[in-house]
C-alpha cells in the first residue's frame, strides 16, 4: 500500500491536499505503541509545501480534526511523503528508541571542489558532497554528489518543517549572502570572492556534519536522499524573495507577536531554568563572537601592516651604506615578511576555528529557543481546546433546558470531539516536553564536546604560531649580533 512513488520534478503545491491527514495515511504505517509519533497530529497549511517554522496558528481551519487514536500519523507529512520509501521510513522511526544500542556514529562528510556553473546572474556554485561511512543505513561506504547552495537550504527547510515543532533542534543552515554571491556570479576572481566561497564551503560542511550527528535527522529520508541521490529536485522556494520566502517572513513576524501574548504557567522549573540558561548563553556568546571577529580583523590588519613594514625595512637596508647593517636590515625585512604570513595564517585559524564555532552556536541557540517557543504554542493550543470545551459544556448545559433535540445532539457531538482534542493537546504537550528534555541534554553534551575540541585545536594553532616565531627570531639574532 503505497502512494505513488513517481517523484514530481518540482514541488507541486497542488499535490498536497488539505486532508493529508485523512484516511489514506491510516494504512501506511503499522501501529506501533513504541513509536514516539504514534499520536502526533500535524498542522498543514494550505499553500506552500516549503513550510518554514510554521508558527502563526491557533486553531487554524487547516488543522485536522481529531483522528482516532488508532491511526498513526507521522510528523513527516508533506510533499516529502510522496518521495520516500515507506519501509525505510518505518524502520527509521522504530530505530529512534534504539539509538543507543544501534549503529555507532561513524560518518564523515566533506564539502569540496567548489565549481562555478553557468554564467552571469544565473550562475551558481556547485559543491561536491562526499560521504564516507560504515553505517548500515547507507547502501555504500563512500559516495559523492553535486549540490548547490539552495539544495542545502531546501534540505534544512524540509527538516525544519518536519521536526522543529515537535521539539527537535534542527541545525540551522548557513546564511544567504546576496552580496557575496553576486560577486561570484559576476565572475570576480579576486581574493575576497575566493574567501567567500571558502567560508561558505566550510559552513556547508559543518552544517551537514551537525545534521547527521543528530540521531533522528540522520535517518531522515530527505537527508539520505540529499547525501546519496545524484538527482535532487531544485528547491525553488528557498529564494529570499519568493512567495514562500515572504510567507516565512510574515510567519516570523506573527510569531514574534504571539510570543509576547502567550503567558504560560510553567509547572516545570526545568524548562524555566533552561530557557534562562539559553538566554544568558546567547548574550554571552554574541559578545564573545563580536570580540573574536574584531580580533580576526585586527590580525589581518597586522599582517598587512607587517608586510608593508617588511618592504620598508628592505628599502632602508638598501640605502644603508654600512654593509653589515645593511645586510641585517635586509634580514629583518625577510623575518617580518615571514611573520606577516604567520599572522595571516593565525587570522584564518582565529576565524575558521574560533569565530565560526561561536557563529554556529549563536545560530544553533536561536533554533533551541525556537523549540522552546513551539512548546509554548503547543501548550497554548491545548489550553485553547480546554477553554473551548468548557464553553461548549456550558452551552450544552443550557441547551438541556430547551426543547431542541437536534441542537443538543450536535452540542454533545462537538463536546465529544473537543474532549478528544483536549486529550490530544495534552499528549502533544507532554510529548514535546519529553523530546525537548532529551534534545537539550544531547545538545548540551555536543556543545561541551564541540567547544572543548575546537578550542583545543585553536590553542594548538596558537602554539604553532609561537613556535614559528621562535624559529624566525632565533635565526635573526646572530645576524643582528654580526653587525660590527
Amino acid at each position: 500500500m503505497c502512494l505513488s512513488s513517481s517523484e514530481p520534478a518540482s514541488l507541486p503545491a497542488e499535490d498536497i491536499s488539505t486532508n493529508s491527514n485523512g484516511p489514506k495515511q491510516d494504512l501506511l504505517f503499522d501501529e506501533d505503541p513504541e513509536d514516539l509519533f504514534a499520536e502526533a497530529t500535524e498542522e498543514v497549511s494550505l499553500d506552500s509545501p516549503e513550510r518554514d517554522l510554521l508558527l502563526s496558528d491557533g486553531p487554524s481551519p487547516a488543522i485536522t480534526p481529531i483522528t482516532p487514536p488508532t491511526s498513526v500519523i507521522t510528523p513527516c507529512i508533506g510533499h516529502s511523503l510522496l518521495r520516500i520509501k515507506f519501509e525505510q521510513f518505518q524502520t527509521c522511526f522504530l530505530q529512534i528508541e534504539e539509538e543507543e544500542g544501534g549503529d555507532l556514529f561513524d560518518m564523515n562528510i566533506s564539502v569540496s571542489d567548489p565549481e562555478k556553473v553557468g554564467d552571469g546572474m544565473n550562475a551558481y556554485m556547485a559543491y561536491k558532497v562526499t560521504t564516507k561511512t560504515s553505517m548500515s543505513v547507507f547502501k555504500r561506504t563512500e559516495f559523492s554528489v553535486k549540490r548547490r547552495f539552495s539544495d542545502f537550504l531546501g534540505l534544512h527547510s524540509k527538516l525544519a518543517s518536519k521536526y522543529l515543532h515537535v521539539g527537535y533542534i534542527v541545525p540551522p543552515a548557513p546564511e544567504k549572502s546576496i552580496v557575496g554571491m553576486t560577486k561570484v556570479k559576476v565572475g570576480k576572481e579576486d581574493q575576497s570572492s575566493n574567501e567567500f566561497v571558502e567560508k561558505r564551503r566550510s559552513a556547508l560542511e559543518r552544517y551537514l556534519m551537525r545534521t547527521v550527528k543528530h540521531p533522528v535527522l540522520l535517518k531522515d529520508p530527505d537527508v539520505l536522499q540529499f547525501l546519496e541521490s545524484s538527482d535532487l529536485p531544485r528547491a525553488v522556494s528557498t529564494q529570499a524573495l519568493s512567495s514562500a520566502g515572504l510567507l516565512r517572513m510574515v510567519n516570523k513576524a506573527a510569531d514574534a507577536v504571539n510570543k509576547m501574548t502567550i503567558k504560560m504557567n510553567e509547572s516545570d522549573a526545568w524548562f524555566e531554568e533552561k530557557q534562562q540558561h539559553f538566554e544568558n548563553l546567547d548574550v554571552q556568546l554574541r559578545k564573545l563572537h563580536a570580540s573574536v571577529e574584531s580580533l580576526v580583523c585586527h590580525r589581518k590588519e597586522l599582517s598587512v601592516n607587517t608586510a608593508q613594514f617588511a618592504k620598508s625595512a628592505a628599502m632602508l637596508g638598501n640605502s644603508e651604506d654600512h654593509t653589515a647593517l645593511s645586510r641585517a636590515l635586509s634580514q629583518l625585512a625577510e623575518v617580518e615578511e615571514k611573520i606577516d604570513q604567520l599572522h595571516q595564517d593565525q587570522a584564518n585559524a582565529d576565524f575558521y576555528l574560533f569565530s565560526e564555532l561561536l557563529g554556529d552556536y549563536v545560530r544553533l541557540i536561536t533554533a533551541v529557543k525556537g523549540v522552546f517557543d513551539h512548546r509554548m504554542k503547543t501548550w497554548q493550543k491545548w489550553q485553547d481546546s480546554q477553554m473551548l470545551l468548557q464553553k461548549k459544556r456550558e452551552a450544552e448545559a443550557k441547551l438541556q433546558f430547551t426543547n431542541k433535540p437536534d441542537k443538543l445532539q450536535q452540542a454533545k457531538d462537538e463536546i465529544k470531539e473537543l474532549e478528544g482534542k483536549v486529550q490530544q493537546g495534552e499528549r502533544d504537550f507532554e510529548q514535546i516536553s519529553k523530546t525537548i528534555r532529551k534534545e537539550v541534554s544531547r545538545f548540551e553534551k555536543d556543545r561541551v564536546k564541540d567547544f572543548k575540541t575546537i578550542i583545543i585545536k585553536y590553542l594548538e594553532s596558537l602554539v604553532q604560531t609561537q613556535q614559528q616565531l621562535i624559529k624566525y627570531w632565533e635565526a635573526f639574532l646572530p645576524e643582528a649580533k654580526a653587525i660590527s
Binding site: H277, N280, L281, Q284, L285, K287, L288, S291, V292, S294, L295, H298, R299, E301, L302, N305, T306, Q308, F309, K311, S312, A313, M315, L316, N318, S319, E320, D321, H322, A324, L325, A328, L329, L332, E444, R447, V448, F451, K452, I455, I456, L459, E460, L462, V463, Q466, Q467, L469, I470, W473, E474, F476, L477, A480, K481, I483, S484
Partner: protein, 407 residues
C-alpha cells in the same frame, strides 16, 4: 621594564629606572660630565624633569647637583645651539619631541565618563591598562629628553657651551617662554627659505667625493627612515589592537565560565586565565617593538634631519665662499674695495673650511653611532621577541596540558 598600574602619586620612576638610560644611542659615558634625568613629575599640563649632573669639571660650583627643567627649556637650549654660528659645523642633537599625553588623557577621561556602562571588573581592568599606557608614554618622553642631554654632554664642543651649563646648574626657572605666534611664523618662513635654498644647494655638485656621497646617501636614507618609521608605527598599533581584543575575549570567557552549568565552566575559566596572561605578553611585545624599533627609527629620522641640516649649512657656506670669490675677482678687476672683498673672502673661506672639517668628522661619528644604536636595538628586539614568544609558548603548552588531561 614596563610597570603596570601607577605608583603612588604621579612620580613614575622607580629606583631601578634611575641612572642613564640612553636607550637609542650608544654613548660613551665620561666621568668628567655625566648627565641624566633622575626623576620626573607629571602634572596637569606639563612635565617636570629633574636633571641630575655629576661632574669633575671646574666650570661648576659643585660636583653633583640637580635642577628641575621643563620641555620648553630643552627646546630653548636646542635652539640656542642651532642659532649659534660657531656650531654650524656640527650635527646638533635633535630636540626631544613635546610630551604628548593628550590622547592618553582623552582616553582616561572617556573611561571616566563611561564608568556607569560597564561592570566594576571591566572598569578596573581598563583603568589599569590606560594607566599603564600613560606610564609607558611618560617613560618614553623621559628617555628622549635624557638622550638629548647625554648627546650634548658627550659632544666635545657642545658640552662646553655656556647655555648648557646654565641649563644644568642654574636652579631657578630659566624663564624661557615658548615661542609666541610671531616667532613661530618667523620659524616657518625660515624653514620655507631653507627648503627652497636646500633645493638650490642640493643642485650644486660637490667637488668633494665624500660630501657628495653623504648628500646622496642622507637624502635617500632620511626618506626611507621616515617611511619605515611610519610603517612600524602602523604595525605596532595593529598589534596593540589585537592584544586589546584578546583582553575582551578573556573577559567574555570568564563570564561564560561563571555562568555555565556544564563541564565547560572550568574549561572556560582556564582558557580565560590563559588569554589574560597571553594578552599581557602580546601587549609587552607591542611595547617592546615600540621602544626598540619604532623609537629607534623615529630618533634616526630626527638625527638624519640634523645631519641634512649640517650639509645644508656647509653648502650654504660653500655658496657664500664661491660668491665671495666672485666678488673678490670683480673687486680686483674694478680695483675697488679690494681689501674689503679680500677680508670677506677669507672669512668665508675660513668658515667653509672649518665647517667642512668638523662636518666630515661629525658625519663619520654619525655613522658609527647609527650602526651601534641599530645593532644594540636590533639585538635587544630579537632577544625580547624570543623571550616573549617562549613565555607565550610555555603558557599555551601548560594550559593545553591541563585541558587535554581533563577531557
Amino acid at each position: 621594564m614596563m610597570q603596570e598600574g601607577l605608583d603612588d602619586g604621579p612620580d613614575f620612576l622607580s629606583e631601578e629606572d634611575r641612572g642613564p638610560r640612553a636607550v637609542n644611542v650608544d654613548l660613551q659615558t665620561d666621568a668628567t660630565l655625566q648627565v641624566d634625568i633622575s626623576d620626573a613629575l607629571s602634572e596637569r599640563d606639563k612635565v617636570k624633569f629633574t636633571v641630575h649632573t655629576k661632574s669633575t669639571l671646574p666650570n661648576f660650583k659643585q660636583n653633583e647637583f640637580s635642577v628641575v627643567r621643563q620641555h620648553e627649556e630643552f627646546i630653548w637650549l636646542h635652539d640656542s645651539f642651532v642659532e649659534n654660528e660657531d656650531y654650524a659645523g656640527y650635527i646638533i642633537p635633535p630636540a626631544p619631541p613635546r610630551p604628548d599625553f593628550d590622547a592618553s588623557r582623552e582616553k582616561l577621561q572617556k573611561l571616566g565618563e563611561g564608568e556607569g556602562s560597564m561592570t566594576k571588573e571591566e572598569f578596573t581592568k581598563m583603568k589599569q591598562e590606560l594607566e599603564a599606557e600613560y606610564l609607558a608614554i611618560f617613560k618614553k618622553t623621559v628617555a628622549m629628553h635624557e638622550v638629548f642631554l647625554c648627546r650634548v654632554a658627550a659632544h666635545p664642543v657642545l658640552r662646553k657651551d655656556l647655555n648648557f651649563h646654565v641649563f644644568l646648574e642654574y636652579n631657578q626657572d630659566l624663564s624661557v617662554r615658548g615661542k609666541n605666534k610671531k616667532e613661530k611664523l618667523e620659524d616657518f618662513f625660515k624653514n620655507v627659505v631653507k627648503s627652497a635654498d636646500g633645493v638650490l644647494v642640493a643642485g650644486v655638485k660637490d667637488v668633494d667625493d665624500f660630501f657628495e656621497h653623504e648628500k646622496t646617501f642622507l637624502l635617500e636614507y632620511h626618506n626611507r627612515v621616515k617611511d619605515a618609521s611610519a610603517k612600524s608605527d602602523k604595525m605596532i598599533r595593529s598589534h596593540k589592537s589585537a592584544a586589546d581584543d584578546i583582553n575582551r575575549i578573556a573577559s567574555s570567557l570568564y563570564t561564560l565560565g561563571t555562568q555555565d552549568s556544564t563541564d565547560l565552566c572550568k574549561f572556560f575559566l582556564k582558557v580565560s586565565e590563559l588569554f589574560e596572561k597571553t594578552r599581557k605578553i602580546e601587549a609587552r611585545v607591542a611595547a617592546d617593538e615600540d621602544l626598540k624599533l619604532a623609537d629607534l627609527l623615529k630618533y634616526y629620522l630626527r638625527e638624519s634631519q640634523a645631519a641634512k641640516d649640517l650639509l645644508y649649512r656647509r653648502s650654504r657656506a660653500l655658496v657664500d665662499y664661491e660668491n665671495a670669490n666672485k666678488a673678490l675677482d670683480k673687486a680686483r678687476a674694478k680695483n675697488r674695495d679690494v681689501l674689503q672683498a679680500e677680508t670677506s673672502q677669507q672669512l668665508c673661506c675660513h668658515k667653509f673650511e672649518k665647517i667642512s672639517e668638523s662636518a666630515k668628522q661629525e658625519l663619520i661619528d654619525f655613522k658609527t653611532r647609527r650602526v651601534a644604536a641599530f645593532r644594540k636595538n636590533l639585538v635587544e628586539l630579537a632577544e625580547l621577541e624570543l623571550k616573549h614568544a617562549k613565555g607565550n609558548l610555555q603558557l599555551l603548552q601548560s594550559c593545553l596540558g591541563v585541558l587535554k588531561g581533563n577531557t
